[in-house]
Symmetry: C2
Subunit: 337 residues, 2 copies
């Protein structure tokens, strides 16, 4: 009896199933860290001076959003081709077999989206500034979605060396690929099967409950909600969802972009303040390009702060271990200013 009680209090861990992917995750708070302790112990010295920065002298501009409040037409955010692309478009898309394996050449597009200031991260942008970045995400998306072969466009942002940012200057990336990514495929399948059995969008069902329950909500405005997901995969995972059902990121209206900028800016700022500017990744999951019935899908943005190194269990077993309850993470971030 004593042992049971002790264990119960000391390690109140839980297994939780993600509604969409049906993946189970472990919420193990027994590792016992308070939210404050996730702040980085020391700030990494990764700021190359702007003199040596490849993005500070960029002139191979593909598309830009000018700083509208300035008369000189200087740019605030630009898109350029990635100098080291993971995919490139100079050839046909071809497929062949090698033994039992299928191979395609690496057809696609890989662009970098850069904001002018060498130092200032998105987390410190004004709503107007975040909106300019989103405008460019959308513009590049709408251009590349028309290209042949493209089935999916991934938009993502790495901040900090330990989150994989190889250049300190704030930048996002956009990769247009001829295949639908497997993670998204899993979510699409999960959303479709929920729709077939329950007759509604799984994300809408989740949001309805989350907004009523309130525990995991960090912030909301008229059109967007920022929350820690019920079955978070990493500590302080944060997602931004449109409240109204909408499969396609790229169909956001001006009005919606303005409020998405508000929600994303608030989310990033709270993470910056609460966790002392941690390294993080964020990315958009949206219904694939080019036809297909994806009306059951609901686009959103995921933010993954880097507060721990992924280790063997997460890599080997696929069951992620998050070391703080999503409710406590949300409460902590809700208060961060």
């Amino acid at each position: 009896m004593m042992i049971k009680k002790k264990l119960k209090n000391k390690f109140p861990s839980e297994l939780r199933m993600d509604l969409v992917s049906n993946d189970w995750v472990i919420i193990a708070t027994g590792r016992g860290r308070r939210p404050e302790s996730f702040a980085r112990e020391k700030r990494e010295k990764e700021k190359a001076s702007s003199k040596d920065c490849p993005f500070c002298k960029e002139d191979n501009i593909k598309e830009k959003v000018a700083r509208r409040d300035k008369k000189d037409g200087s740019w605030f955010v630009i898109a350029i081709p990635n100098k080291y692309p993971a995919l490139s478009s100079g050839r046909q898309l071809t497929e062949r077999k090698e033994g039992p394996n299928r191979i395609m050449n690496g057809f696609g597009y890989h662009e970098v989206i850069i904001t002018a200031d060498h130092q200032r991260p998105l987390a410190l942008f004004s709503q107007k500034e975040v909106e300019m970045v989103i405008d460019l995400y959308q513009a590049r998306y709408l251009d590349l979605i028309k290209k042949r072969y493209i089935k999916y466009i991934s938009i993502f942002h790495n901040h900090g060396k330990s989150a994989g940012a190889s250049v300190a200057h704030p930048h996002s990336q956009l990769i247009a690929a001829p295949v639908i990514d497997p993670d998204l495929r899993g979510s699409l399948d999960g959303a479709e099967s929920f729709y077939q059995s329950q007759g509604k969008c799984v994300y809408c069902a989740m949001l309805e409950w989350e907004l009523k329950d309130g525990q995991r909500i960090i912030y909301q405005n008229d059109k967007f909600v920022v929350l820690c997901p019920f079955a978070s995969q990493v500590a302080f995972e944060v997602r931004v969802y449109p409240k109204k059902h909408q499969p396609y990121f790229e169909k956001m209206t001006e009005d919606e972009k303005w409020l998405f900028a508000d929600a994303l800016g608030k989310a990033l700022n709270k993470i910056y303040k609460g966790l002392d500017n941690p390294a993080h990744n964020f990315y958009i999951h949206t219904a694939p390009a080019g036809g297909g019935d994806y009306n059951h899908y609901h686009w959103h943005l995921n933010i993954l702060p880097k507060t721990a190194t992924w280790a063997g269990f997460e890599l080997g077993a696929g069951i992620e271990i998050s070391t703080i309850e999503p409710e406590k993470a949300a409460e902590f971030l809700r208060k961060a200013k």
Copy 2:
């Protein structure tokens, strides 16, 4: 024309589909690193002295394998309960709903498997020593597989801080969980569907072709083969497969364990020598515990050297970017001594 040619030579990237999961990965060698450059630039100072090491003074031993060549009965490798378990067994397994979500309590077992020497990594063990570790993996597996509720047992090893090892003293971990992990579930499904359509094990088909082709083979003995997978997810990913079809790791015979120890030891040693002792994770994927027809599955061990930080595209799009061709990685490791 000029541009096409330039792109073709500079970025010969490929998309490759994993036969089992049907996931596509990008092999992008355009990032242009030679195998040698993956070696860690500097060795992290993570060796706490053995005086402060929690594993050097462990006495809460659950099971041990004694050093057979010593008369004093001193242990070479032990299993102990994890002091900070992700899952623990002091309660019933219960499930409840919260809104639309399912929750189970964190029932399970979490053990640590420790070798006596504070410094020496598995990569420098003799075949006999590796065999002793495998013996204990198997013994703990066979004990925990009998416990109620347990559906899957994950055995994994983290080496180096950047691979998530929080204690420098070499150790492996074992987590027995009441759910089948989603990564394995995906592999089981993929293997089952291949079996249904092709009438054979997907891993046997792959191995037959790999052994004939030879390009990605690093090492083999009578019963095991070490190779870089065709659709590697990370640079220098290495897998160890039994040549003969066998779903269950725990059913290895004495003879097989001896040769598995040879193969695993060689694999780890070549990575250690070739990549200058990089951080890495390894884990075993084996058919789940407790019934079910898993005869289409084929157990194996995966090694993931940590030569790059995972970033947004990998996290967000699920399409991994590996920065060296598996054929070149295998060639490099084959020669490493």
